[in-house]
Amino acid sequence: MNTEALDVTAMQQDLARSGAVIELFNKFGESLFTIQITADEIPTLWVSRAHSYGVLNFLRNNINQPYLLLYDLTAIDERHRDHREGQPSSEFTVLYHLISPSRNDDIRIKVALDDADLVLSTVSTLWRSANWYEREVWDMFGIVFEGHPNLHRILMPSTWKGHPLRKEHPCRATEMEDFNLTDEWVEEEQEALRFDPEKWGIETDTGKDTDYMYLNLGPNHPSAHGAFRVMMQLEGEEIINSVAEIGFHHRGAEKIGERQSWHSYIPYTDRVDYVAGVMNNLPYVLSLEKMAGIVVPERAKVIRIMLCELSRIMSHLLFYGTFAQDLGQMSPVLYMFIDREKGYKIIEAITGGRQHPSWFRIGGVAQDLPRGWDKMVAEFVDYLPKRLDHYNDMVMRNSIVKQRSKGLGSFTTEEGWDWAATGPMLRATGCDWDIRKKRPYAGYDQFEFEVPEGVNGDIYDRCAVRVEEMRQSIRIIKQCLDNMPEGPYKADHRLTTPPPKELAMQDIETLIQHFTTVTWGPVIPPGECVVPIEATKGMNGYYLISDGSTSSYRTRIRTPSFAHLQMVPFMGNGLMIADLIAIIASIDFVMADVDR
């Protein structure tokens, strides 16, 4: 007991000594903060509501090597949580996860709120990306952000009653009133979708003798890549102003996390970024493994990386084809789907699934590689580069593609950070922020690859970055193929799920352990953890809170597409409608990755 206490104090000391925390202590005084120890070892500081804005402002604007990236902003309903050792009392906690790119360092700021007084000042003036995140917190928890320019519901319909992520809100549809879609309801909802420019603070007076035209693109539009809509204020074909509306694809994945066992939540992760397959399992299991202290064997690591990179190729090929199609090229997508089918054949041979394999497990993968996998993979890595050369001539060197994409929809690295852009979107601006390199996770430090960068941050560069990333992924897969280690495919740890069957037959203890882990699911020790990964579209991470039970207390899914889609008006305003279609295509988002 004493040694544990000593360890905790030592860890707190370590945290207190690290860079930004010292600077905060010097600036504001140590008494203002409470340090919390988290499993992911990110400095986590509690600060009172009165001081939160000042602290965040300091971290954003005044500190050396500032925290430019608001990686995540979310809340926790703490009212039913048992394990809150060392944390200030709080009913609702708003948390800010910030990243300083130049320090390559994270900090987490938490603010405690009372249920009776859920008000906090907005930080949308500090980070532009905070706008949607704060709207989401308002929608899901009912926390009001004072000074927010348009604090409307974002995921739920504007007619919704209640805030879904509060613990008292029902999770299941079958716990709620029966669904009965009446004509009146259809009319009411359609009326609620009517675009009211004034609600969004859009100036309607042209100052001339003419009127603006208002055009609604979506929620169902063939070029919108999913169910979302953009409402546009037009002068001729020029977009003067626009508002993006999401929430048509909100599947309540975060709420579901609170009811599924840790293990049985894995299939839900596949369906978040639904074109990236097993890549979605990775941040979830990594976060759990860190909390549980599981060390994954080498073979499992390499298998995971191989399949993740294959998923990246699958996702980027889909992007590549649909991007070309949105710019008016009919044939590339037909060719690229042939390649995707070849990729699916490998994924199917290894995992048994196509789009949603749900194949990673806590502590490893579901099964060993089948005999003959190496031949299939070798053929694929040999085949794809030639096809990519072909597509390069077909798409990237096409003059119409260039004219429609070069110099349009561009932004700078600085603006990218401000909008929380990550992944190829950010790298297209000439930034090397790839966390596979910056903070290697899951064994990426063992691989040789380059991080492709763009120059102009425009539509064309975003596509070029992804094309080059596919070649780098092939390079990584080749290394997996040549250096696949021998050994077990899952960890020998009591929380590995499902546990190794051989051990179950040794004695009654291991049998009981196996039985409970398989039936109830593993019990993850209390704690908080997030392990961001470089997913196909940007930084993806599962911020998990365990309250020492068989399911999560709070599952927060930080997805890249949510932040990226927020940039649509910023990139599209002032351009033509046709350019907006190209911009939407270049973002490469998936609506389930936006709305979850």
């Binding site: 549809a173 879609l181 063939p222 089948p370």
Partner: protein, 213 residues
């Protein structure tokens, strides 16, 4: 071919060409049938899908249009961007409460005759997503003709569902007018695929080992 402009004489016999060649030509070129049969045949073989998708299933639906699977073989590659030009709608994905009124509006915009395929578990019953924001099955507000299982179903199973839809369309009869026949659409009873395929399923006794590719 012989022809003349002679006036028809009263009592004249029509000229009959009873050569075998003529009989063969008629056999090969002339088809007789009822209008409603032809209409059903034509509809079944030129079904135009509505290009509409909500979630993951749409990716597999799109795959079924692509060269490896090639929906064009069934005369259904003409995906339409507007519901007004489409014959059937594939509910490819999760039906959300926020999206349901939109789906209803789109369905209403399709012209009769129209059909609906519910693709995947979410559209069938909510599937994995028994959650506050999801409608537990599109049949809560739309009439569904075909249900497909899977999460998501493969392009092959989409083709299976599509050929079943073709059978349904080909078997339905709409009389040309209420004067000629009964009003409304005559439908055949739909067979449960679970029952139909039972024998075939029971015949499968050996499954491929997952240890081999």
């Amino acid at each position: 071919m012989e022809w003349s402009l002679d006036k028809v004489q009263k009592g004249a016999q029509p000229r009959v060409n009873d050569s075998p060649a003529a009989a063969e030509a008629v056999e090969k070129n002339v088809l007789m049938g009822k209008v409603e049969d032809w209409v059903a045949w034509g509809q079944a073989n030129s079904l135009w899908p509505y290009n509409f998708g909500i979630s993951c299933c749409y990716v597999e639906f799109a795959s079924s249009l692509m060269p490896d699977y090639d929906l064009a073989r069934f005369g259904a590659e003409v995906i339409r961007a507007t519901p007004r030009q489409a014959d059937f709608m594939v509910i490819a994905g999760t039906v959300f409460r926020k999206m349901a009124p939109v789906v209803q509006r789109l369905y209403d915009q399709m012209l009769e005759p129209k059909w609906v395929i519910s693709m995947g578990s979410c559209a069938n019953s909510g599937g994995l997503y028994d959650v506050y924001s999801v409608v537990q099955g599109v049949d809560k507000f739309l009439p569904v003709d075909i249900y497909m299982q899977g999460c998501p179903p493969s392009p092959n199973s989409f083709h299976h569902a599509f050929t079943l839809l073709q059978e349904i369309v080909a078997s339905e009869r709409r009389s040309a007018s209420w004067i000629v026949g009964p009003e409304g659409v005559q439908k055949i009873a739909r067979k449960s695929q679970r029952e139909t395929m039972r024998e075939k399923r029971l015949d499968i006794v050996e499954l491929r080992s997952p240890d081999e590719v």
